[in-house]
Structures are given as C-alpha cells and as structure tokens.
Amino acid sequence: MSLTVDGIEAPAEGTLLDAVLAAGIGLPHLCTDDNLAAIGACRTCLVEADGRIVAACSAPASQFHQVATRGAVVERIRRGVLELTAAMVSPGSLDRPGGPHAGELAAALASHSARLDRYPHRTRTRSDATNTFFSFHEEACILCGRCVAACQELQHIGAIGMAGRGGATRVTPGADATFADSICTSCGSCVAACPTPALSPREAFAP
C-alpha cells in the first residue's frame, strides 16, 4: 500500500502528519508536540487526503493513499483557521523571546500569508510572573493545550488545566491559582512545549 504526499512517496506509518513531515514538507501543527499524543485543538494541520479534508495529526497514515498539502481549498481553510488564531494574540506579542518552539505560530502565519487583522482581535490579558524561572503572558496564548498535556500527560503533575469553556477558556494553574500557589515543580515542560512566547523563560534564564 503506497502513500504519496504532494506526489512524494512517504512511509504509511503513524499519522498523516508524520508522513508529511517525513516527506520533508512543511505543515503547521500548532497543537502537536513530538512527545505528545494528538490533541486536535488547533486545526491548522489540515490536508486533503483521498478527497477529504482531515486533520493530519489525528489521521492514521495507513488509511490513505494520496495526500495533498497544497490546493486552493485546503490552503484557504488552513489560512482561515490561522487568521482566527492570529486574532487571539495581541499585535507584537509574538516577537517576544520564548521557549524552544516559541516561533511556530509566527512561522505558520508567515508561510500562509495570513492576514493578522482579518478578524477583530479578542485577546486575553492576564499575566503570571509568580514562577522564578518562567512567566505566562496570555496575550500570546492560542489555547493549543500543549502545555496542559505536557504537565498532565508527560510529567504526570497536573499543575495546570484548561479552565472555563468557550470564549472563557484559559490556561489556569491549580483551582484558579497562580503558578506559585499551584503544585508546579518548575520542570519547564510547559515552556518547552509552547508554540508561542506565551510561556517563556524569565530573562535571566532565556536561551
């Protein structure tokens, strides 16, 4: 059974996202971290697979044959999702230094020529600087869930969660607490996972 991505032969193992990346093709995947199971929240990894548009991060490669990351429709929809994502972050907040993956959102927006002002901005503005090693600035957070999954699933700590629902959803330590007042061990996994500068090392510790 053969799998091609944009005409390039690719291994039909793991997810379609694995296959796309193995073929050397770039594709945004803002809520997928190498170390974590698919979350399916950001919806920026859409590809056209055998005529259907699917999220590559959560589609098994073995079930498809022809995958296209390019194409008018799939690119338009990916750009649309990215433009909605851009409306979550305040202008300029993506230029701040951050963790090892902090540039992922900015790169995805640039590669899709996404308009940053397509939709009226709706940003959240809380900050939390109570941790000695890192700080959290909500104005750059896109609610991808990587930090929460890293804390809960990878480290088995559970210091942070996604509190609230709908437009009121926010990354929250403890039961509406601060990082300092939570059971956070300062392991830094959340900072390492974040695709924006929302969770960033304090200046003294910045890479």
Binding site: R76, G80, L143, I160, D176
Partner: protein
Amino acid sequence: MDLPSAARSGLLPALVEAHTRCGAIDASEAGRIAAGLRMPAALAWEAASSFPDFERETARGAEPVCVGPACLAAGAIAGPGQVAVECQHRCFEAPAAGEDAPFPESAIRLAGPLLAPEDTDWRGLDAARASGRDGVLAGLERSGLRGRGGAYFPVASKWSAALARERPLALVVNAEEGEPGVYKDRALLCRRPRRFVEGLAIAIEALAPAVTVIFLNGRAQGAMESMRSALESHGDILPAAPRVVRGGGGYVLGEETTMLNAIEGRKPVPRVRPPFPVESGLWGMPTVVNNVETIASLAVIFREGAAAFRARGTAAAPGTRLLSVSGAVARPGVYEVEMGVTIARVLEMAGGPAARPIVAALAGGPSGGFLPESTFGTPLLPGQLHATGAALGAGGLLFLDSPAAVRKTALYLAEFNAAESCGKCTPCREGAPRAHEMLASGNKAGLEDLLEVMAVASLCGLGQMAPGPIRSALHFWPELFA
C-alpha cells in the same frame, strides 16, 4: 466490577452533589473536592468550570422562565422575580415556566410500537435470550435499526465492531438530551420506562458489558425519578444495577466522546477520532454508546420481530422514530412517525397552524437548519434534508409562523452555538461568536468564508454543524439579515 480510576470518576458525582447541596461551585469548593479525591486541583477545576450548570446557583426563590427557541418564538421573557433559563425541554407547553416536571402523558400525541402502552411480560427479552448473542446480532442486522441519537449509524455494525475487539467492553446509554427543542427521551423515560429497561436488558444480554453507565441529563429530574423506580422494580431482569451518572449541562455533552470524558472525571470536551469509542472509549475499553430511543427500540424489535419493524419506515431507514414537534402548531408534542414521512404530513398530524399560516420549520435544532414551507414535501430521513443545513438529527421540529420568528430563532441559535462551544478547537471557539456578530449586525462580508472554515475545520459536530441555521436562514430569507 470495580470501576477503574475510581478516584477520578468520582469527580462528576461529587460536583453534582456539591452543586445540589450548596449552589454554584467556585474554585475553592473545586479545590476541596479535589483534595478529597486526592487529585490535582487544576484537574478538578478544569472540569468543574466547564459545566454551565455548576456556575449557577440552584434556583432559590426566583422562578425559572424558559427562553429556549420555542418559548422565545412564543414571546417568553423573564419578568421581575423570574430568571431566564435555557431550553427546559417543555417546548410542548411554550412558554414554559417553573421547575422540571415529569413529561405529561397528554403530550404524547401519536403513539406507535415504541410509545404504545407498556407490556406486562418480557417477550422481547425472552426472545433475545433464546436466540443468544449471535441471534441478537443477526436479528438486529435484519431489522436495519440505525442509532436514534442523530447520527443514524447502523446499530448492528457498532455492536459488532466493539465485540470484535474481544476485550471487556462498556455500554453507555446517552440520556443527556441537551438539544433545545428535543424532549422525546424524557417522554420515553417518564412514560414508558419499562420498555427502556427491557431494551437495556437485551443490550446487556448481547454485549455482556463489564460496565454499564446511563448518562442522564442533570436537570431531567422527572426522568431520573421515573427511570430509577423502573430500574428498581425490574432490577431482577438486569444482571447488575447500571451506574447512573448525571451531567452538569452543556450542549456538547451529547457528543459521545465528551460524555466519556465527563464520566471519567475529565474536562467535558471531545476527543480526537480515531480511536473511535468502539475501539477505545470509556477507560480505554471498547465502548458502545446508544441513545435512549435506540435502546427502547430493541424491546420493540425483539418483541415484534425484525420483519415487523422493517415493515415501517423505508428500506434504508426502517422503523418509527420519535419527533419532538414544537412551535406554532395546534398540537405540539411527541409524535411517533414512520421514517420517511414528509414535513407536510407532520404538520397536518400536529393539527396544522395554531393561528397564522406556517412559513418555516427548523429541523435539527442548533445543528440543523431552516426550511421554507415550499419544501415541506421533503421526507424526514437520516442525513441532511437540505444542503444548507436542515437535518432530521435527533428529531426536533420547530414550526414558525413569521419571517420575524425565523430571524429571531436564527440569531438565537447562532448565539447559542457560540455560547455552547466547548472552547477546545479554534474554528468553533473563535469562529462561532464572530459568525453570530456578523449575522446580528448585518455586516456579512466574509461570513460565508468563516462558515466554511467552521464547517470543514472544527473538531466536532457542534462546530461543524453550527453554520447550518445561519446558512439556511441566509439562503432562504436573505432580506431578513440585510
């Protein structure tokens, strides 16, 4: 069998208990509950803060007034000393006020085999027992029963897929019924609970689940009491008492993986698929999730035989199904109709217009769409009834008698979907509120692009189908939103 991960699955029951005892659950209460269950506070809080009912005080003094779609169309507004609440699932007596009340027999307007008076023997169950697991699966296959929750997946295929894993499996009954305008599961549980229990016994007989959970809407108190008493009086036909879990509200809770997360004590948001619940669902077990009406249909199928079941409805969609008919008709209520009946026929059965002529029907609620009177020849079948959104879904039909009511309902549904977005995925969380704003302001430039993004890119059905009411209203009544 002992439930795995017992501490965490104690969370939702503990939250429901705390809410009943002391009203709205705040962060400190969630923290105390977490400590009691020895789980991290963040995990308890992310779940607790995601159920809309827990944010509210349990009504003290103020009388609840429903402002759901049927009551809104009937002119409901909350006056002094009253509090506006979401659909109370009593659309058959709109405008509805007061607490949840048991579903009245008088609102069963048309009964078929599902809503016929209850039986006094267990012939359906006896027949299923006599034919064994393979016989039940074969009978189910012959009947062609498709899930009545709204997705219409063939029930025999779902069961076979779960059984094929050859691992201990879970059976979850979806009794959440949180869709505004739908109240037929409440009708079954309140008026024909014995039929539901017989269907449940048949499902348990065939699936031999290691765990059986009934997930019941947190506000459906009448249905709860009726079901509990039926489970108690007929407990002898069930090998073990099913675990009953109450929810804390939220339309997305009806989405099956969200429900599984809620039962496990996790934040109620959808999971990615695959894995599908039949592969890995509740606590990773192969899981069958069936709606109340689907379960009750089992009793009918094994009592009457698959051929008799098939004799009603169409070849591709056999049997009868329950419609929740509301709005400007003479006799709103539950109608048991054959699949494939036209909307015009339903309108006729419901006694026609209550006063003014009907101009539109909303089919499928917030995940469906509007149809103009000129299309009422459309048969009610699984899948979309119109490309702009209308769908049979869970069988909710709201009849409207003016273009103004169409506009009001469309705006209500756009706002409802925005409010009910769970917040997990970007297209729905960010898109739905903006789509509502664009529709309300009449500034529709780029709206169709946005609706396309929501429909194609959203993670679950809520976001994927939220464009339906907007698209259909704009398609048939563009002048209302200029």
